[in-house]
Symmetry: C2
Subunit: 332 residues, 2 copies
């Protein structure tokens, strides 16, 4: 099998570290690894597949090296600055930031949902927001079978979505120490505030869920609203998703779809206490779907509870799965 030279940009961050772990675990065919980070972290040693590597400083010239794929997870500003440079030098960038997600010339891809969008990439491919990825994996089979009119999202999001700083705030808060990152204590609290606020009263995170869901499902007519909330959980986002389909459905047919759909594990046996849980999803790549119930308050209404590891399926694993899909489709 052919192997590839892979750069991981932002390799010392939480998602960057997870990218290394997932590349190794999923046995991505890595030839040479190019770990990169900001000047501050350059020179540090990281380990991949049992071998030590020295972290390179991210700079334009770094992409003159023989790199096939660069997995970026170093924040939006860094991506905006360096992804086009890498792309112009023939590197295929899979970018975990929000910098290019809504750029119409950049595909926004979840491999289980819209792999065909990879076919028109121009060397930058955007990895969607964590909370969107798991939602669209769950919604795609419903969308195909019944159509979707409207979605109401309420999320229960883990602190690891804020990286090491959010994680530390929860760890420290549990010990009775002050927050340094979130504006309010996250220990034993729910913060209806993820990313910054916009003029319309929504957070950026909420609007990401609205806009990215439409883009990934190629349907600007989808009506969507979202309330996104940080909860004192370390890993895995949970989501209460209320859906109105276009066509009528039977619940058994819905459950059957979930058993057949790629990337989904149906956990829906509530009388035996089986439903998706953050701590069960942790460190896995699947999207867990359960609490499948009819919403009697509207025609064709459905309630779902959807959980996935936000750092793996919501970030690192989805990026690596995109890389695999590029190989499968002969695009690299």
């Amino acid at each position: 099998m052919k192997s590839y030279n892979v750069a991981v940009v932002g390799v010392t961050g939480m998602v960057g570290q997870k990218m290394l772990q997932v590349l190794a675990e999923l046995e991505f065919p890595v030839n040479n690894l190019y770990p990169m980070a900001s000047k501050r972290s350059a020179g540090k040693e990281i380990v991949f597949n049992g071998k030590p590597y020295v972290v390179q400083e991210l700079c334009d010239e770094a992409f003159d090296q023989e790199i096939d794929i660069a997995l970026f997870s170093a924040g939006g500003d860094t991506s905006a600055r360096f992804s086009p440079v890498a792309a112009s030098k023939g590197v295929i960038v899979i970018d975990n930031s929000s910098a290019f997600r809504m750029d119409p010339s950049v595909p926004l891809v979840v491999p289980e949902v819209n792999p065909e969008d990879l076919d028109w990439h121009k060397n930058i491919i955007a990895n969607p927001n964590c909370s969107t990825i798991q939602a669209v994996v769950a919604l795609k089979p419903l969308y195909d079978a019944f159509g979707i009119n409207r979605i109401v999202y309420s999320t229960y999001q883990a602190v690891s979505g804020s990286g090491v700083k959010g994680y530390s705030d929860l760890e420290n808060g549990i010990k009775g120490e002050e927050n340094t990152f979130y504006p309010h204590p996250i220990a034993y609290n729910c913060l209806p505030h993820i990313d910054s606020f916009l003029d319309n009263g929504y957070t950026k995170e909420e609007m990401k869920m609205v806009n990215e869901t439409q883009k990934i499902l190629h349907d600007d007519s989808l009506r969507i609203t979202a309330t996104t909330v940080r909860v004192p959980v370390f890993y895995s986002h949970s989501e209460s998703i209320n859906v109105e389909t276009k066509k009528a459905f039977e619940l058994d047919a819905v459950r059957h779809l979930f058993t057949q759909a790629p990337g989904i594990i149906l956990q829906d046996d509530p009388t035996n206490d089986l439903y998706p849980l953050a701590r069960v999803a942790e460190n896995t790549d699947e999207v867990y779907v359960g609490r499948v119930r009819r919403d009697f308050s509207v025609d064709n209404g459905l309630n779902l509870w959807v959980v996935a590891d936000n750092i793996r399926k919501g970030a690192a694993s989805n990026a690596v799965q995109i890389a695999f899909e590029l190989i499968k489709r002969g695009l690299i």
Copy 2:
């Protein structure tokens, strides 16, 4: 001012203890206090307003004493068994259990919302479910001003809603110990499971929110669905509430209503990080409303974030407020 002989049934439980605290703090005119509990707790000493009292065993004969009001919080079975006995002996029972809530002959009352229902009580008055109380306090001004077509609830509920056992599970879970009450770890997890499951796939808690909202607002045509979730928070329930009103509204008018409505504190200045928080609501009697936003996905759509202390406004304080309202209306 006239004072009243008050029994607190289930006085050693978490809500019973809070009832004592609230009676004292709100200066309810208590003449004699009759603390009652099961045989197991009888004989214990409790303190009210600085004075010690011995806990009496709950039995039929206990209500032969000179008691005006009995605040019950000892579970549904105990209420079902003893509330009718107390009521038949002329005691006005304010019952915190679910035993009588949906009984058409029993008023289900939140004083800010439907105090007039007290007028037809027959010595048993039901205190609504914690998650319902805070929701209807927030929804009532909207209902009156604009009408409501449909409500989608997603809740973030504190472990104290399960009493001491739930509280201990979170305390112990944080220390790395096993749960003994919840079927799954509650530390760093979200459990979409409150109370037991019904044949329709909903939990009893979810159906309580549906049915009790309709009863309190006197509107069986209200279309409601709910997903109720236990989160690792000690006190205060948070709720993401999506509402469709009948008439059009302006957001400023909605916010103004919340500033005028009884029992509500509007906290809605997100750019200054002001929105309702569980840890701010803790140990207060108000319902906090914020994240007031238009839901663009539907006509007359509105999103709210509503938080209140589940043990105080969601239980003990609402019961004591009912007792005050009985006095105010000359019903006792």
